[in-house]
């Protein structure tokens, strides 16, 4: 038994190296002097990060991506909060079916979501711009928001709500003064995760972007130029760090939401 658990441990660490190998190349080669991404390394340099400062197309793409990520994460969080509140608080006919339907984009191949949205937009004669991407991303992010908000609402004690109503608050007041503060960390986690996912999303943006290129679509175009590779690696490094920071922040809020609810003594 102990021998097999030793092998298991060796496997686990080897597998972990496999999982990390590609991502670790990002920082290694974005600080490497050579323009060619290959070993041996030739020296330390900040030049590829510096090169990013002078790419106007990148700055436009970044601006578009920020608009898309902020708008779609807010919209998706509103939709997710509504859906999650409805399904965790009330029991009603058609609940499970409609929830499954709203969650479907989680598992549908993205190309199908992208193509079908594009078909409709073209048929309606709508010009593709930043808004078409925002709508597509909102559709994609809403299920993630529902999952996060579900765990926030599920821990909510019904008696707090009843107490507030008994004490004379109306429904709006109860929501605003009792429920909202308790699920606020969940909402912030949902916004941060949505923002991160939207910032990284490629397929939907690729189909719906029109001329308002987003960051991943810009990166996709850069892949064709071998000369720009190291700068693209540098950009990837920055994106990785930003994603990790946003994620740690959202994890912090998610835990806080749980702690906040646990701190209220449960009568049962």
């Amino acid at each position: 038994m102990s021998k097999s658990s030793k092998y298991l441990k060796i496997f686990a660490f080897t597998y972990l190296i496999f999982l990390y190998a590609p991502t670790l190349l990002l920082p290694i080669f974005s600080f490497n002097k050579s323009q060619i991404i290959a070993f041996p390394l030739t020296g330390f340099s900040f030049q590829w990060f510096e090169a990013l400062l002078y790419q106007d197309a990148l700055h436009d793409a970044l601006k578009n991506s920020l608009i898309v990520a902020i708008s779609s994460s807010i919209l998706a969080t509103i939709l997710g909060t509504l859906a999650s509140r409805a399904t965790t608080r009330y029991d009603f006919k058609g609940k499970q079916a409609s929830l499954t339907f709203i969650l479907a984009p989680l598992i549908l191949p993205e190309i199908i979501v992208g193509v079908s949205l594009l078909i409709v937009l073209i048929q309606l004669g709508i010009t593709l711009n930043v808004w078409s991407v925002i709508l597509g991303h909102t559709l994609l992010l809403a299920p993630f928001s529902i999952i996060i908000m579900n765990s926030a609402f599920n821990n909510l004690d019904l008696s707090l709500e009843e107490a507030s109503m008994d004490l004379g608050e109306n429904q709006f007041g109860t929501f605003y003064r009792v429920i909202l503060p308790l699920v606020l960390p969940g909402i912030i986690a949902s916004l941060l995760i949505g923002f991160t996912l939207s910032l990284d999303e490629f397929i939907i943006a690729f189909f719906l972007t029109g001329t308002d290129t987003t960051l991943p679509v810009y990166i996709w175009a850069q892949f064709r130029f071998p000369k720009k590779l190291p700068a693209t690696m540098a950009l990837g490094t920055i994106l990785l760090i930003v994603s990790l920071m946003l994620l740690s922040l959202s994890e912090y809020f998610r835990r806080r939401s749980r702690m906040l609810e646990d701190s209220i003594p449960n009568k049962n």
Binding site: L8, L19, A38, A83, F101, P109, E110, I111, L118, G136
Partner: protein
């Protein structure tokens, strides 16, 4: 109770209606539209709305589409198999030998996957390329003298990249199902004389089946329609159906055929998934 059933229904739907209508407009309507379009034809820019099975007949009979469908399924199924195969011992290790550090292990596993999918898949191209990281590294170590050419631009490269890219989607659900296993069952089986291997096949594997089945579906369904990976590391021998859908939609200007190919792949994927779930339903029943 204060709330009657009808009241619940009204309040529930009042909240749910907005996200529901949103999904109706942005998911159901487009999918329906795509379905309709697949029965029409397009000649350059004019759309002929006469109902016809022409696109489906073309999708079913043209060898190129048959090849792409088969290849997409084989690549996706192989990648799903290897991802789950590698993920299982990892999830098992974390669940049974993780001790106090389970959360840390799970965190460590997810970190590399917060780079965008696009960049991760591209990194495989950088690794496997002719002048890439792996070849240059092996030459530097003097293990080879000429770069290896079989690494990139084939179906194997796509399988490798997918097996890497989808790993957390297998590890996490399998871990969750392993965590749910009542540890006293294991003690009981040991007491009753089961060897470690018996125990694995008679208790751990059947009880973790829901996680394994879930993981397989979570990976299989989206990867059949993957566009990025085959385009970046597949070369011509590794292209998949999504790449053809995109070509038909844009360059070939044949949106109806693209729609028919999309609908067909959705049906094939659903069919395989349903058969897979039915085939394994005895493991899912007790949950």
């Amino acid at each position: 109770m204060k709330f009657t059933f009808n009241n619940d229904t009204k309040k529930g739907w009042r909240l749910l209606s907005i996200p529901f209508i949103f999904s109706l407009l942005l998911l159901a309507a487009p999918l329906t539209m795509m379905f309709l379009l697949s029965f029409w034809t397009q000649d350059y820019l004019t759309l002929d709305k006469t109902f016809t099975f022409k696109n489906y007949i073309e999708a079913a009979t043209q060898p190129v589409y048959k090849l792409l469908f088969t290849r997409s399924l084989i690549i996706s199924l192989t990648a799903t198999f290897f991802t789950v195969l590698l993920a299982f011992p990892m999830a098992y290790f974390i669940s049974f030998h993780g001790g106090e550090r389970k959360a840390l292990w799970l965190f460590l596993i997810t970190i590399p996957f917060w780079t965008s999918y696009l960049i991760r898949m591209f990194l495989w191209k950088v690794i496997l390329g002719y002048n890439g990281v792996l070849n240059s590294f092996l030459i530097w170590l003097e293990m080879i003298t000429e770069p290896l050419t079989f690494l990139l631009y084939n179906a194997n490269a796509v399988v490798l990249a997918l097996t890497h890219g989808w790993a957390p989607f297998a590890i996490l659900p399998i871990f969750v199902s392993l965590e749910k296993i009542d540890r006293s069952l294991l003690e009981a089986s040991t007491d009753l004389g089961d060897s470690a291997i018996d125990q694995f096949f008679r208790i751990i594997l059947p009880l973790s089946a829901p996680g394994v089945i879930g993981a397989a579906l979570i990976i299989f369904i989206p990867t059949v329609g993957d566009y990025i990976t085959p385009k970046l590391v597949g070369g011509t021998d590794g292209l998949m159906i999504a790449n053809m859908i995109q070509v038909q939609f844009s360059k070939a200007n044949n949106a109806p055929l693209a729609a028919a190919l999309s609908v067909s792949s959705l049906m094939i994927v659903s069919f395989i998934s349903i058969v897979f779930v039915l085939f394994n339903r005895k493991y899912l029943r007790r949950y």
